[in-house]
């Protein structure tokens, strides 16, 4: 008999958990104007799950009006090697600037508080065989870049860091300056939009063969980075970036979605396929609802799709067998998409 006797947890050691669990706030410290640095530890003192440079943690920051958990992603700033703490730095987004209150709740945390976290999750990892790396940060986008820089220092690689910040708002400047004392690591600091663009163009044009570039910052900065890399003839496969937020999307067209069991759902402009699926009682995992995290991926059987996410590669779009349901829709008014949900 090959009967199943017992099912054990996948990882015996507690330092490999990634599912929702509570961590304790061990320290809270301001690191720049409107930026706090929060240190989390396991309440029982067990080691935390290692992570890839550039990974983020998902924090439950509260509940929204409908009673749904509000979860925000925050980049981990360490090198990820057998960590005993998880550290994040969070910029306060005021409501008048479009903040939904999540970052304000992180700012209100105090030592001893318990926070629900999930992950770490990796969506901005370095290429393991890179020979050199160009790290580009603007504003709060410094958090995953600091993690990359620390990993480069830890493993003895070489990196050039370009950090664009506003005076008084350069979070983690001291740490980056200290890293740049190490052989193989250089730091360029730059203030102001035009100076940043000029320096970016100059540094992109002057990298050794085999360099991979990584950037994180506000949407307009990342657009400038992509354009500059293209002008300097960088192959897209060596140009990496992470977005904290997606640009505003138009409400889109009316279309319908046919589900695996034949049910047809109308999706009006301003409503996402994800929202329509959830309203119809079909559970689809989701997180950012902005087309940046990749969580809400849905298999597609037929239908022409307008991909509006920032996750899928060109090849994956061409293959056309998946879409990200929080942002992508039918390509034309009244179109029909068959999905396997």
């Amino acid at each position: 008999m090959s009967a199943t006797l017992e099912r054990y947890p996948a990882h015996l050691h507690p330092g490999y958990r990634t599912q929702a669990r509570a961590l304790r706030v061990a320290a809270v410290a301001p690191v720049a104007e409107d930026v706090v640095h929060v240190t989390l530890v396991d309440p029982a003192g067990v080691p935390l799950t290692p992570y890839e440079p550039g990974a983020h943690l998902v924090l439950t920051v509260g509940t929204d009006a409908a009673g749904e958990k509000q979860r925000n992603a925050y980049s981990l700033t360490g090198d990820g090697v057998v960590p005993r703490t998880y550290e994040i730095s969070v910029l306060l987004q005021r409501p008048e600037d479009g903040g939904a209150g999540g970052s304000a709740r992180v700012h209100a945390l105090a030592v001893g508080d318990l926070v629900e976290v999930e992950g770490p999750r990796s969506s901005f990892a370095p290429r393991h065989d890179q020979r050199h790396t160009l790290l580009v940060a603007a504003g709060i986008g410094v958090t995953p870049v600091l993690s990359h820089a620390r990993a480069v220092a830890r493993w003895g690689g070489s990196a050039e860091i370009l950090y664009s910040y506003r005076p008084g708002r350069g979070a983690h400047l001291e740490e980056l300056r200290a890293l740049a004392e190490q052989p193989g690591i250089t730091l360029h600091e730059v203030v102001g939009r035009e100076a940043s663009a000029a320096l970016l163009a100059e540094r992109l044009a002057d990298q050794p063969l085999g360099t991979h570039a990584y950037a994180c910052g506000p949407p307009s900065f990342l657009e400038a980075y992509e354009a500059a890399a293209e002008r300097a003839c960088w192959p897209a496969s060596r140009v990496h970036l992470e977005r904290f937020a997606a640009p505003e999307l138009d409400p889109g067209v009316l279309f319908s979605a046919v589900l695996a069991d034949g049910t047809s759902l109308e999706v009006p402009p301003g409503t996402s396929l994800l929202e329509a699926l959830l309203a119809a009682g079909r559970p689809v995992p989701n997180l950012c609802r902005q087309g940046v995290c990749g969580e809400c991926v849905v298999p597609v059987r037929s239908g022409e799709v307008e991909h509006r996410d920032l996750v899928l590669s060109d090849a994956e779009r061409e293959a056309g067998d998946v879409l990200l349901s929080c942002v992508s829709r039918a390509a034309c008014e009244g179109g029909v998409i068959e999905v396997e949900v």
Partner: protein, 356 residues
Amino acid sequence: MTLAPENPLAPETPAAFPVRGHTARLPWPFPDDLEAFRYSVNVEPARLVRQTAAGSWGGTIVDLGGEEYGAIMADRRRILDADPHRVRLMPGMGPACWDLLVYYLRDLAISYPHVMELSEHGDVFHWRNHALGTDQRFVVGDASTLPYDPMTFLGREIPDDLLLVKERDGHLCFDAGLVTFAAAWSVSFDVGMTMTEIHNPVPRLTREGVTSRAEQFLRRLPADQVYRRVNWTLSASGSRKLDVSLEELPEWGTDIPALVRDEDWARLQLRIEVEHFIRLPMTGAVTFNIRTHMTSLEEIRQIPAWRRQLAQVVLELPEDLAAYKGFLDYREPAMAWLTAPDRTDPDRTASEKELA
């Protein structure tokens, strides 16, 4: 001291047959009702305990091999000392090897607490393996604190061949390996290849879409689950010898022709490989660690359910698969020997009658 895994949850399972040791621990590769074998993405969650006709297996990720542990490790260390090319690392795989080492030492210390101990103070680890006499302090990430690179250090403590795959330019590549017990392939030849390139010699696999489904599976392997897979063949050697790699071809190349000539079928070995897939969190590398087990037709013959099933599966296998696995030319006489009633054993004769 015991090498039995500590598994407080595992119920006592009396062996269904009075066999002990090697046979009782053997990961029999076929489900009970399987009559015909074809390639598929045959993966299942790890740590699932499977009962077989002779015992059970599978509660731990690492199977030290009970009383055979010392001998297997002596063989492994001898091969590594003699041939440094059995360890091959592509550029940038150092961190993934540390990731592998940390994961396995932590797992071993929990699975085998009477034999293995690990203490951690930040990045400073202290590893003790009382069965092999290892006592090593090291700093994670600092190669100068270990006598070998981290993959070799681990390979000298556990019987598994160690393979790591990582994504490069949209393909999963076999970018680091310590392999001393390969079945007619060579780590030096295969390292750096994509999964498609590696599986090219296997008939049907890529054409029937198994390779790309396997790659999809590994690419999506979640961080919170561990999977395993079992592979089997008849070994290219008529002994327990685990190392039938291309490097050692002169050592084993004449074994099977001699065995076939002498019709010495009892010595023929079923080779079973249990492979574990783990996504290592610090680097995103995925393991494909292979634990190889051998059992002779003589041993299989003792277990009526096994002899019947193996003969059925081997004889039914299409010619191209049988040729790839290397037994097309001798499978009939070998399986005839395996299933022939043995008149000196009244029990077995009875069971054969029952069959007929």
